[in-house]
């Protein structure tokens, strides 16, 4: 079925899984269209269409879907349930296709592939994912070999993408490299190192967080994020909670925070969270309590909302960076 186009909203899980999804579809001869970078119009549209009580990222997702819906034959809104056999996604991810299908009128067909391998071992996990994508592929071609090849290649691309992230690239940079751009020069020119943590779509959407990374880089701060860490490393991090954080992104954020606190190499830790985010309301308090045990590593929470202002964000980041820098210099004199 050549000539078919599938739209992939550039929001939520996009930042982690887009390379894989795109490869899968293009290998089947399907055109992939993404929405533009987030902008004010999309957010405003999303705010109008989504429930007022929803979190900002969901509203923005609505905006992305709205901007795509008249240009594509299908919209890809997978139901991300569980990918690693253990942790689940936020209930809003679990119900995302339902909210989109029943919340927006005049949509093209929604591809709501279920991605779930909860409580599965390492092998059956692979099988489960292959099955899901196989079913998805069958919508576009009868050629089974082609689907299997597409699945294989999509995994290969995802691997490459992850390697780029582990080298320290941000998702947007890594995507550019996949598309043929040169690997940007070594990023670490600044004099301070911050760990910047939070869910991928809070961190890597420059519009919604008013360009946190650019601002930090301009202030002479090198950044490292959860996605830059090896996933094996994250899995091995021990915590002293009676129970795991059972949401995927929260679990990653929490463990990454523990890692950076324990390792003690960064000068400060920033946590970016979104207004109205359910899981985060718990998670960042847990991280805050953890931070108290490491008074020598400054910690700050940045909250983004529908009206995050350029100015306010800059002032806060500057003040925080100044404080960290002064502390560091002072510390250097003392010893």
């Amino acid at each position: 079925m050549s000539g078919t186009t599938v739209g992939i909203p550039r929001a939520l899980a996009y930042y982690l899984y887009f390379p894989r999804w795109r490869t899968f579809f293009t290998e089947l001869g399907v055109n992939v269209v993404t929405s533009k970078l987030s902008n004010r119009q999309m957010l405003d549209d999303g705010v109008k269409e989504a429930l007022a009580e929803a979190c900002v990222p969901i509203k923005l997702y609505f905006g992305h879907v709205l901007s795509l819906k008249d240009r594509v034959d299908y919209i890809f809104v997978p139901r991300l349930y569980c990918l690693n056999g253990k942790t689940l996604f936020c209930p809003k991810f679990l119900g995302l296709p339902d909210m989109i299908k029943h919340g927006i009128d005049n949509l093209p067909p929604v591809l709501d592939t279920m991605l779930n391998n909860r409580d599965k071992g390492i092998i059956s996990r692979r099988i489960e994912m292959t099955k899901s994508f196989f079913q998805l592929g069958e919508k576009f071609t009868r050629d089974k070999v082609r689907i299997v090849k597409a699945i294989y290649n999509s995994l290969k691309v995802e691997n490459k993408y992850c390697q780029l992230l582990h080298k320290g690239l941000l998702p947007n940079q890594a995507l550019e490299v996949l598309d043929g751009a040169k690997v940007p020069e070594k990023l670490g020119k600044g004099s301070l190192n911050f760990a910047v943590l939070g869910y991928p779509y809070h961190l890597y959407d420059d519009f919604i967080n008013v360009g946190v990374f650019n601002k930090l880089h301009r202030l002479g701060v090198n950044t490292i994020t959860t996605e830059n860490l090896n996933s094996g490393l994250l899995e091995n991090i021990k915590h002293n909670l009676p129970k795991e954080m059972f949401w995927t992104f929260s679990d990653r954020a929490y463990k990454a925070a523990l890692h950076f606190f324990k390792e003690g190499k960064v000068d400060a830790i920033l946590y970016v969270t979104a207004f109205g985010c359910g899981p985060d309301a718990m998670v960042y308090r847990m991280i805050e309590l953890e931070a108290k045990k490491y008074p020598h590593i400054p910690f700050m929470v940045l909250m983004i909302d529908e009206h995050s202002g350029e100015a306010g964000m800059s002032t806060r980041l500057e003040a925080f960076t100044d404080m960290v820098r002064r502390r560091k210099e002072l510390g250097a004199c003392l010893c």
Binding site: E53, F89, P91, L94, G95, D98, K243, F246, G276
Partner: protein, 348 residues
């Protein structure tokens, strides 16, 4: 000596108190949530957690002030926030400098050893396992009796001739059940309560409308968190039917077999095909069942920022159109709470 307290959800405290006392503990009955509870809870909870978290936070702190040193609650593996309540509460309480035991029960079938360990911890009188089991059964029996009486009030209240009679009799009945300590006593108190409720003089010619109540479990079950919405509606001549009771719910969550929930999930399938955490899927299913049973409308209660109820509410707009049933949603937060919260409510 363990001084035990637990979350307060509607009248369930009456049964839990008996159970924990039977095991030989001193029980600090959690106070009914008041403005003070809420203020305390809000002060020490993360700003954007859901209302139940905040009220429970306040309840625990109040109970600790009253001398409690052991908190008993339930966990669950989400995927909603409630599954993490216990550990976040514990961290915050410890951060405030209180030493407490947090006993958080998980589903016994998947964590049998953990379950037995915790039972053992709470078994201060060192009862035999058989006696513990009997105590649990008795507690359950009482809880069922309480639930059934509450269901009956939902039918009687809208028909009462004199405003307030049902609530008065109901509170009395709760006291009777509170004092009953054997299965026989419980049964007697229950019969007595049913009789008294049925004897309430009724207005004959009133037009009664029927409303189903759906939504998040805590705000459905704890009247202090929803401004006594059931009493208010009842006295306006509305017969309500609540979709959730602890005796209906615990059963479902503990062994996954409960016919009603199965059909409710089936009804929800075309709209939300999978469980999304909390009771988001149940909410949609129950709305559809209510509409099929000819109800006049549905009220959805949800804490502000409640994740699964936001999903279900998004879908409900269409459900309401297709199934032709009006739905009114209340998102409850500490602001809506403050205005109407009854500061000095006392059982009559």
């Amino acid at each position: 000596m363990l001084k035990v307290t637990f979350p307060r959800m509607g009248h369930s405290y009456i049964a839990f108190k008996m159970l924990l006392e039977d095991l030989g503990n001193e029980v600090i009955v959690p106070p009914r949530p008041s403005k003070k509870t809420l203020d305390l809870g809000v002060q020490y909870s993360p700003e954007f957690t859901c209302l139940p978290f905040k009220i429970l936070m306040g309840t625990y702190l109040e109970a600790i002030q009253m001398g409690a040193n052991t908190l008993v609650t339930s966990g669950g593996n989400g995927p909603c926030r409630a599954g993490l309540y216990a550990q976040v509460h514990q961290r915050i309480i410890e951060d405030l400098g209180h030493q407490i035991n947090m006993i958080c029960f998980e589903a016994p079938l998947s964590h049998p050893i953990d379950f037995l360990k915790k039972v053992k911890f709470l078994n201060s009188s060192k009862l035999s396992y058989l006696s513990v089991w009997q105590a649990i059964k008795k507690g359950w029996h009482k809880l069922k009796a309480l639930d059934n009486i509450e269901k009956l009030t939902h039918q009687i209240r809208p028909r009462e001739r004199d405003n307030g009679t049902t609530s008065r009799v109901y509170r009395q009945a709760q006291n009777w059940l509170g004092q009953a300590s054997t299965i026989k006593d419980i049964d007697e108190a229950y019969q007595e309560a049913v009789k008294s409720l049925n004897n309430i003089p009724q207005a004959q010619d009133r037009l009664i409308i029927k409303i189903g109540m759906v939504g998040e479990i805590y705000v459905l079950l704890e009247p202090a968190s929803n401004h006594e919405i059931e009493e208010v509606l009842g006295s306006l001549g509305v017969e309500i039917e609540r979709s959730m009771f602890l005796t209906g719910w615990t059963k479902d969550n503990l062994n996954e077999k409960c016919n009603e929930v199965v059909t409710c999930h089936n009804a929800a399938k075309p709209w939300i095909p999978v469980a999304i955490g909390g009771h988001g899927q149940d909410t949609v299913g129950h709305v559809i069942l209510y509409s099929q049973r000819g109800f006049d409308g549905v009220i959805q209660l949800a804490p502000f920022t409640c994740i699964p109820e936001i999903v279900s509410k998004t879908v409900l707009t269409q459900v309401s159109k297709q199934h032709n049933i009006p739905i009114l949603t209340f998102f409850l937060d500490e602001q809506t709470g403050k205005a109407v919260w009854l500061p000095d409510w006392k059982p009559l």
